[in-house]
C-alpha cells in the first residue's frame, strides 16, 4: 500500500481520475498525518475535518461524472489570513482569536468551486508580519528539517504543511517575501504571483499595494495547476489584471536553450552566507549545462530597497490595522503583539505631519527607481536568479529581541513586491542537511516562463524528492 501523503498533486490527480484512489481516502490520509505530526510542528491552527470529508465526497461524485478540473479532490491548507466562511480565521493574532469569517475570500470560492478539499487553516506570523513564524500569537511553527529552527515566514504553516506532507498544496500570502523565504527553508516550491494576478478580496490585508496571494506545492508542475485555479480578474478587487489567464502548464518541459538568466551582482556580495552562495552558484552552473546563458546584471537600487519597503509596508499596515477596534468583531487593540504594535507605530510615524515627505513620499520615489532597475534588467535577460535569503534559518526565539536584524533577512525578496513582479522560489540544494532556496524573478505576468525555467532545474536536480525525517 503506497503512502498517499507522499504523492505529488499531479500524481494524486491522475490516480483520482483513474479511480485508483478516492478523494475521501486521500483526505483521510492527510488528516491522519496532521493528527500525528501537527502537535509537534504547529502548522495547522484549525483543522476542519467534517467539512473536508464533505468536500471530498462531493469531489468523488464530480470525478465519477468524468470531470477533470485541476484541483478536484485535492487536499489543501490555507494560511489563516484567508477568510473562510463559518470557519475561525485569526491571522494568528489574539485580536481575532475567536473570530469566525462571515464570507469566503475570492480565492477560497475559486478553490471550493474547483473541488479542492480544504483541510484547515495554517499558522503564520501574526498579521503576516515576520520572516520566521516566531511572531504567531499561537506559538511558532517548527521547521520539519530541524524542529529547533524557524521554518521562515510569514507563511510558516503553509510552507511546513507542504515540506512535511501535511497537504498537497497550501495557500499563502507574500508582501515582502512571506512565501519565498519559507519555501527556501522547507525545500518546497512557492510562488509569489504578479501583483494583481490573484484576487486579494477576503484576504486579511497587510500592505495593500504589496500583498500578493500565492501558494506552496511540492513541485513546479503542481504549482502551475494551482495558479490555474486562483489567477484571474475579480470584480471585487479593482487591482486584479484584466489580462487573459494563460495555460500555465504550456511551457513546462520546453527546453531553455538560449534563455538568458540574469545574475544581479548586488545580490552576491556583502551579507550573503558563503555556503548559500556556493549552492546558488552551483545552480547557475546547472542552468548553463541546460543551455541557458548567464548574464551579469546590476540592480543598483537594491541597497535602498529594504528601507523603502520598511516605510511603505508599515505605512499601509498602520492604515489597514486601524479598523481593528473590537467593535464590529474581534478583541481590543491591547491584544496586538509586539511586532504589530511596532509596525503600526512606524507606519504612523512615517505618515505623520512633518515626516510624510521625508519618509513616505521619498519611499514612493525610490519605488520608481526599483521598478526602473528591473525594467532595464529585463531588457537584457529573460529571468533573474537570486538566493531567497542571505542566511540559514536561525534558532526559534533568536529573532525576537532584534527586529531590525530580522527585517534585513528580507533583502532579496522585497524588491519583487515593490515592483509587483512575480517570483518563483524552488529548492536549490542543501547546506549541512538543511535546504537552501533560490528564486526566479521575471517581468509582470511572466509566470508561464518562470514555471518553464523552474521546471528545467527541478527535472535536472530532483532536489524536491529529499524529505525531512519527521
Amino acid at each position: 500500500m503506497i503512502d498517499l501523503t507522499q504523492l505529488t498533486l499531479s500524481t494524486a490527480r491522475d490516480m483520482l481520475y483513474k479511480k485508483e484512489v478516492s478523494a475521501r481516502e486521500l483526505t483521510r490520509a492527510y488528516l491522519n498525518r496532521i493528527q500525528t505530526h501537527n502537535p509537534r510542528l504547529n502548522a495547522y491552527l484549525t483543522v476542519t475535518e467534517e467539512a473536508a470529508y464533505a468536500a471530498a465526497d462531493a469531489a468523488d461524485k464530480r470525478i465519477a461524472t468524468g470531470e477533470t478540473t485541476p484541483l478536484l479532490g485535492i487536499p489543501v491548507g490555507l494560511k489563516d489570513m484567508y477568510m473562510t466562511a463559518g470557519v475561525r480565521t485569526t491571522a494568528a493574532s489574539r485580536v481575532l482569536a475567536d473570530y469566525t469569517a462571515q464570507y469566503d475570500a475570492t480565492v477560497v470560492t475559486r478553490l471550493k468551486d474547483a473541488g479542492a478539499v480544504i483541510l484547515g487553516k495554517l499558522n503564520c506570523d501574526a498579521w503576516a508580519h515576520g520572516s520566521s513564524g516566531e511572531n504567531s500569537d499561537f506559538g511558532p511553527t517548527k521547521n520539519p528539517w530541524n524542529t529547533e529552527l524557524i521554518p521562515g515566514g510569514s507563511s510558516s504553516g503553509s510552507a511546513v504543511a507542504i515540506g512535511a506532507d501535511l497537504a498537497l498544496a497550501a495557500g499563502g500570502t507574500d508582501t515582502g517575501g512571506s512565501i519565498r523565504l519559507p519555501a527556501g527553508y522547507t525545500n518546497t516550491v512557492g510562488l509569489k504571483p504578479t501583483y494583481g494576478r490573484v484576487s486579494r478580496y477576503g484576504i486579511i490585508a497587510m500592505a495593500s499595494s504589496l500583498d500578493s496571494i500565492g501558494h506552496f506545492t511540492k513541485t513546479v508542475t503542481d504549482n502551475a495547476l494551482y495558479l490555474q485555479v486562483t489567477a484571474g480578474k475579480d470584480p471585487a478587487d479593482a487591482t486584479t489584471s484584466p489580462a487573459d489567464v494563460p495555460d500555465y502548464l504550456a511551457l513546462i518541459g520546453q527546453p531553455i536553450t538560449g534563455m538568458k538568466i540574469g545574475v544581479p551582482k548586488e545580490y552576491f556580495s556583502g551579507g550573503l552566507d558563503p555556503r548559500i552562495e556556493t549552492v546558488v552558484r552551483d545552480a547557475l552552473k546547472t542552468y548553463e549545462r541546460l543551455g541557458a546563458e548567464l548574464v551579469e546584471i546590476s540592480l543598483p537600487y537594491t541597497e535602498y530597497a529594504i528601507a523603502c519597503y520598511y516605510i511603505l509596508q508599515p505605512a499601509e499596515v498602520s492604515s489597514n490595522l486601524a479598523r481593528y477596534t473590537g467593535i464590529r468583531y474581534g478583541n481590543d487593540r491591547a491584544l496586538f503583539g509586539d511586532e504589530a504594535k511596532r509596525r503600526i507605530m512606524i507606519g504612523t510615524y512615517v505618515l505623520s505631519s512633518g515626516y510624510y515627505d521625508a519618509y513616505y513620499k521619498k519611499a514612493t520615489r525610490l519605488r520608481t527607481k526599483v521598478i526602473e532597475d528591473f525594467t532595464k534588467a529585463f531588457a537584457q535577460v529573460d529571468v533573474i536568479l537570486t538566493p531567497t535569503s542571505p542566511k540559514m534559518p536561525w534558532k526559534i526565539g533568536e529573532g525576537m529581541d532584534d527586529p531590525l536584524a530580522v527585517y534585513l533577512s528580507d533583502v532579496f525578496t522585497v524588491t519583487a513586491n515593490i515592483a509587483g513582479i512575480p517570483g518563483l522560489a524552488l529548492p536549490a540544494g542543501f547546506v549541512d542537511g538543511l535546504p537552501v532556496g533560490m528564486q526566479l524573478l521575471g517581468p509582470q505576468l511572466s509566470e508561464q516562463k518562470l514555471y518553464q525555467v523552474g521546471y528545467a532545474f527541478e527535472e535536472a536536480t530532483q532536489f524536491w524528492r529529499q524529505k525531512p525525517s519527521i
Binding site: Q102, S269, T325, I327, G330, D338, Q444
Partner: protein, 104 residues
C-alpha cells in the same frame, strides 16, 4: 552591498505621541523597549536621505490600471444578522459604541 546595520539609536521619536496617534495604549516597560527599537529602525531608514530623488516621480501602485469601474448593479450583501454576529456588544441589530462627544 553597503553595511546594512546602522545602529543609530536616535531618540527622535516621541513614542507616547505616536502611540496616541496609533490608538495604542502602551505600558511603561513597552514605552522604553519600543522607543529603542523604533529608534533603530528609523535610524536605518535614514539611508534613503542619501539618495537624491527630486526628479523622480512617485509610484503609488504598480498595475498600470486607471479608473477601474464596475457596472452599478444591485448585488446581495451580508444580511444584518450575519454582519453583527461577531460584535461583542450588539443591541437590536446595531453595534453599541462608547459615546464620542461626552466629556469633550
Amino acid at each position: 552591498m553597503r553595511e546594512l546595520r546602522y545602529n543609530t539609536y536616535m531618540k527622535i521619536i516621541n513614542i507616547r505621541h505616536i502611540a496616541t496617534l496609533s490608538n495604542l495604549s502602551l505600558k511603561e516597560d513597552e514605552t522604553t523597549k519600543f522607543e529603542k527599537q523604533l529608534g533603530d529602525i528609523v535610524g536605518y531608514i535614514q539611508i534613503l536621505q542619501s539618495v537624491n530623488l527630486d526628479d523622480t516621480p512617485p509610484t503609488n501602485q504598480v498595475t498600470g490600471l486607471e479608473n477601474v469601474t464596475v457596472e452599478d448593479m444591485q448585488q446581495p450583501s451580508l444580511p444584518q444578522s450575519l454582519a453583527t454576529a461577531q460584535g461583542k456588544h450588539v443591541q437590536n441589530g446595531h453595534f453599541l459604541v462608547s459615546g464620542i462627544l461626552e466629556g469633550e
